[in-house]
């Protein structure tokens, strides 16, 4: 589509030469989307028994390849001196973009592992099944579903959907004009809406989650596009650079219409606010957070993990680019507003989480609080602010993935036992799993020697340097409150007697094991020796324009 987009420009650019597309720079996205398309074809033509293997392999290869491409580009210097705008101004290939794409791809690889897990669910009539619905279209508990289960069907479409979502996410933080931003948003949102609906157990909740996510997502994207329209009305262009120029008033010879539009900032301000709101919805910041708990709870846990990690990364990437490239001129307008949002998110997330009784909802609220922490780094409009956010996202996404992966292991007759009361005494029955989960919780709480602390420190440091000391204090208080409920879970797992009919911990296959161990490894490495990654994030801290 970037090609078509190029031609759009050629309609009004003076010289009508054919647009040149830098396929190399765009290769990560292209690889993933290509793999996705192939995945669709596999679904269409490959026999059912082969699909699972083929899809897993395909997804893995596509993502790995894309990651390789990202690394290649970064090594090739596209993250720093060769950073450039590709795809006829549609896509930026620069440090933040590549760094975030790298994170997203890694997260996606791990997510593929959790998606492909087939040892947790009891075998349905001899065939191993994953945690996705046998026949999503069928009525829950209906004849159709039973038949599908009997036939041992599984929804292998999840892999192409995942790939499409990843493709959109790769595009999102790299989008260099508002249209691409919007398209990318939809490209990764739509598959997620569907994935949310595909849980094998508790399908009603899953469907409800999908409906809520879809309606609210569509609602927010409507705001987003309207905001885009207003920005376009203000600047007469949707390319970031162009808008930035207009904002700075450094346009060589503005047309009379443009001049009149530039006269009043109302369009700019309102439009900017609406676009920012669309992004804040995706990161789940207060007051646009309310979908988070329900969707996180209802969606299949692997999807939740993927969503919680990758969506945040992509959305914050886009937010950073928008604020730092397009609207730096308006800094004094949006900074206070984001202060408010950050404070509200930190406090509300932490406070409401205290009384949660469901692990997944608990993590959802904690993710809201973390969105607040990250925003604290965003509002520090400094290079160190950018790099701190990048680092935080890296740290946070893997902790989240790992935590949700552990949640998939704790099961009872009804599937995953997500109610906290069921987790009592887990530490006695299977200390290892409990210990791992404790590590993740401590990282969430930001206890030193975990990635959580390094991230929090980086973000707060940036905020303080950016003159947002008050924000740091609030953040500190919020983390103190947040510590309370993380600790509560640990107490529950280790210090309370296990109930006889408590859940069992399923022994996972290599997939989930790998996912969890990667999570733990990253958490500890980033906690103990973060320097290398901080440098990486530091180098990647500059946007191209």
């Amino acid at each position: 589509m970037s090609a078509t987009h190029g031609s759009v420009h050629s309609l009004w650019t003076v010289a009508a030469e054919a647009p040149s597309i830098e396929y190399a720079q765009l290769s990560p996205t292209l690889l993933v989307l290509g793999a996705a398309v192939i995945g669709i074809l596999v679904e269409a033509f490959a026999p059912r028994r082969l699909r699972y293997g083929a899809q897993v392999l395909l997804a893995f290869l596509g993502l790995a390849g894309a990651f390789a491409a990202v690394v290649g580009l970064a090594v090739g210097g596209y993250a720093t001196e060769k950073a450039a705008v590709a795809g006829v101004g549609a896509i930026a290939v620069d440090g933040p973009a590549l760094f975030l794409q790298g994170i997203i791809l890694l997260v996606a690889v791990v997510a593929v592992f959790t998606f492909a897990e087939r040892r947790l669910e009891p075998t349905a009539h001899g065939t191993r099944v994953d945690s996705f619905a046998a026949q999503p279209a069928a009525v829950p508990g209906g004849e159709g579903e039973r038949a599908a289960v009997r036939a041992g069907w599984t929804t292998t479409e999840i892999f192409p959907l995942l790939l499409f979502a990843v493709g959109g996410m790769l595009l999102f933080p790299a989008a260099n004009d508002l249209l691409t931003l919007f398209i990318a948003l939809e490209v990764f949102s739509l598959p997620l809406y569907l994935l949310c609906a595909l849980a094998r157990r508790r399908r009603l909740l899953s469907q409800e989650a999908a409906v809520k996510y879809f309606l609210l997502g569509a609602f927010s994207s409507a705001f987003l596009i309207f905001g885009i329209a207003l920005l376009y009305g203000y600047a007469g262009t949707v390319s970031y650079a162009g808008i930035a120029q207009v904002v700075e008033g450094s346009v060589p010879s503005p047309s009379p219409a443009l001049a009149s539009a530039m006269a009043s900032d109302a369009l700019l301000l309102i439009g900017g606010a609406l676009v920012v709101m669309g992004l804040l919805f995706k990161v789940g910041a207060v007051p646009f957070h309310m979908w988070t708990p329900d969707v996180y709870q209802g969606a299949p846990t692997p999807v939740t993990g993927f969503m919680a990690a990758a969506t945040k990364v992509a959305a914050f990437g886009a937010l950073l680019r928008l604020l730092y490239v397009v609207l730096p001129g308006l800094r004094w307008d949006w900074e206070p507003v984001l202060w408010g949002v950050a404070i509200a998110s930190m406090l509300a997330g932490a406070v409401i989480a205290i009384t949660q009784t469901d692990v997944k909802r608990l993590l959802a609220y904690s993710s809201i609080a973390h969105a607040g922490f990250i925003l604290a780094g965003v509002v520090a409009v400094t290079p160190s602010g950018v790099s701190s956010v990048l680092f935080y996202l890296l740290a946070y996404s893997f902790v989240t993935l790992g935590a949700f992966a552990v949640v998939t292991l704790v099961r009872d007759a009804g599937g995953e036992a997500t109610h906290l009361s069921k987790w009592a005494g887990l530490g006695r029955r299977s200390p290892l799993v409990a210990a791992v989960f404790a590590v993740f919780l401590l990282a969430f709480a930001g206890i030193p020697l975990t990635s959580g602390f390094a991230g929090k420190f980086a973000v707060f440091k940036a905020a303080a340097e950016g003159g947002a000391g008050a924000l740091v204090v609030v953040g500190v208080i919020a983390s103190a409150i947040a510590a309370f409920f993380y600790i509560r879970v640990i107490v529950l797992m280790f210090f309370s007697e296990p109930s006889p009919e408590g859940p069992t911990v399923a022994i996972p296959s290599a997939f989930t094991t790998a996912a969890i161990s990667i999570g733990v490894a990253v958490t500890l490495v980033l906690g103990v020796a973060p320097q290398y990654f901080l440098e990486l994030a530091g180098q990647a801290g500059v946007f191209v324009r």
Binding site: S387, G427, R428, R429, S430, P431, L432, L442, A445, I447, P448, L449, F453, A454, F457, A458, F460, K461, A464, E465, G469, V472, V473, V476, I477, S479, A480, A483, F484, I487, R488, V491, F494, F495, S496, E497, P498, A529, P530, Q531, L534, E535, G538
Partner: protein, 536 residues
């Protein structure tokens, strides 16, 4: 920078030991214990080397090590000890073996308890103790504020599991209730200290920002900052400095603990087993007072001077308040806890008296209080383990059936009330003299504390040890076993030795104290009349 990284080794050995101990298979419980003991003894040897290699006359920080760590945060892994750090590292390394030996059976599975999967409490118990030791050593040796903070906070986690995971077997209110009390105590401990620590985090960040925009590059190096301050490159606005000071001080005051932030200590010490209680009050809490001396005074001299009056008052309140509450306790361990609060009041008082006697006294106090409380608490633990109750009322006449136990208990008590001839007297007297010479009124009030100390100690002794033996459980009570005596006797010997001849310790401590005083630009008040030579 010495060739062999002695300090790092002192910290790494117990850390590795912890991992190894935790890895011991469930069946080989005894092996885990011996391993842990061996490791702690090895650490003691290393600490001994530290003391031996430390030259009181030498540079302020010795055995320094410095490795690049997190450049982006301006953090280097910098270690180094002055006399105070040396003394406290020695204390830590000294006490841990005794703690382990004293807790030998504390984590054995209850005979009735069903083997729960791969749950290995014993291994965990000793591994956690070693882990705490490692972290404490690092925080005593850290000369980089960030490094200190890191381990100061991380320390909470193993402590938290030690408190919440392992309590007295027979709990007065039944096992289930006991577990609840324990986890409550553990959570309280963690949240109190975490809250304090997080506020400190804000201050740490603030410190970075200040150094960053004045020195160009943000740094946490204690030496760098103090030098910069001395050279005038680094000047803080009074307001900023006070805020930062408060951020630091609050965290340390929670840890110390200072009134009114003390209420976690009685719960924590009451619910945890005696050895863990010793670990809390004799080792971990010392990090708080140590940090006041090294960081609050070292980094924020003006603010320290500014805050002194309030701190002194708080310290006095702690002394009297803690003692009075100790008198009012019904529970042996809680009594010791409140006694400790009173003693921490003395330590803080000595630190903020800003006299060389006061601060030397405070430093010695940290060490001696560690040893004396260890004796008292461990013997109390032995007593409790025999009777299965922490209530003073459940005892009486013990000295008739277990004279040695009673005797050691009495010695511990006398040390706690700082009887001359036992080590704590030296430190307490120094603190009092140091305080009196600057704040006479405060000195007098604090002196009232020694009377109250006598009151709660003797009440405890009278109610538990003396009187007729009218309870069957006590008639059957065995005297100290060989292991228990082996734990207590050396500590008592040490108390007496240091009480009679503290010179070796004071020699190590004095120069460090002088440095600290010069940091805060304070000099001792001079006597009214310089003493004339004795007319003989």
């Amino acid at each position: 920078m010495s060739g062999f990284p002695l300090l790092t080794a002192t910290a790494v050995l117990p850390a590795l030991g912890a991992v190894a101990t935790a890895a011991v298979p469930a069946a080989r419980r005894a092996a885990a214990k011996w391993l842990a003991l061996a490791v702690s003894l090895g650490t003691l040897v290393l600490a001994g080397l530290v003391v031996a290699r430390f030259d009181p006359g030498g540079a302020r920080y010795q055995l320094t090590e410095s490795y690049a760590w997190i450049a982006d945060f301006g953090v280097r892994f910098e270690l180094g000890v002055d006399g105070i750090g040396t003394a406290l590292i020695a204390l830590t390394a000294l006490l841990v073996p005794f703690v382990i030996a004293a807790g030998w059976h504390d984590a054995d599975p209850v005979p009735g308890e069903r083997p729960a999967g791969r749950w290995r409490p014993t291994q965990g118990f000793f591994a956690l103790i070693l882990m705490v030791e490692a972290m404490v050593v690092v925080s005593f040796a850290a000369t980089d504020v960030f490094v200190f903070y890191l381990f100061f906070e991380a320390m909470l986690i193993p402590m938290y599991f030690l408190i919440g995971g392992f309590g007295d077997r027979a709990h007065a209110a039944g096992e289930a209730e006991g577990a609840k009390q324990r986890s409550y105590a553990a959570v309280k401990f963690l949240l109190y200290n975490l809250a304090g620590g997080l506020i400190m985090l804000a201050a740490v960040i603030g410190l970075y920002v200040v150094t960053a925009d004045q020195l160009g590059t943000g740094t946490f190096s204690l030496q760098r900052i103090t030098e910069a301050r001395a050279a005038g490159e680094l000047t803080m606005a009074a307001g900023t400095e006070r805020l930062l000071f408060l951020g630091f001080f609050l965290a340390f005051a929670v840890k110390a603990p200072l009134w009114p932030l003390h209420t976690w200590l009685p719960n924590a010490m009451g619910e945890s087993t005696a050895p863990v209680a010793v670990l809390i009050t004799a080792v971990v809490d010392k990090v708080g007072t140590f940090a006041m001396l090294r960081f609050c005074l070292g980094l924020f001299p003006e603010a320290s001077a500014w805050a002194t009056p309030v701190v002194v008052v708080l310290a006095l309140v702690s002394i009297i308040y803690g003692a009075l509450l100790a008198v009012g306790q019904r529970d042996i361990k809680r009594l010791v806890a409140y006694a400790s609060i009173s003693h921490f009041g003395f330590i803080v008082l000595g630190i903020f008296a800003m006299t060389s006697q006061g601060q030397s006294g405070a430093t010695l106090y940290m060490v001696f209080h560690g040893i004396s409380t260890a004796v008292l608490m461990l013997v109390a633990g032995f007593l409790i383990s025999r009777r299965g109750s922490r209530l003073i009322a459940d005892y009486g006449g013990v000295q008739k059936v277990a004279p040695v136990l009673a005797g050691t208990f009495l010695v511990g008590g006398l040390a706690t009330l700082s009887l001359p001839g036992l080590a704590p007297f030296v430190s307490e007297f120094l603190v009092l003299v140091g305080t009196f010479s600057r704040y006479p009124a405060a000195g007098v009030v604090a002196t009232a504390g020694i009377v109250l100390a006598a009151l709660y100690v003797l009440l405890l002794y009278q109610r538990t040890m003396t009187g007729p033996v009218d309870k069957p459980e006590i008639e059957r009570m065995p005297d100290l076993r060989r292991r228990e005596l082996a734990v207590v006797a050396p500590l008592i010997a040490l108390l007496i030795a240091l009480g009679v001849f503290p010179k070796p310790l004071t020699d190590i401590v004095n120069p460090a104290v002088e440095h600290t005083l010069s940091d805060v630009r304070q000099t001792d008040p001079q006597p009214e009349l310089p003493a004339v030579e004795a007319a003989e």
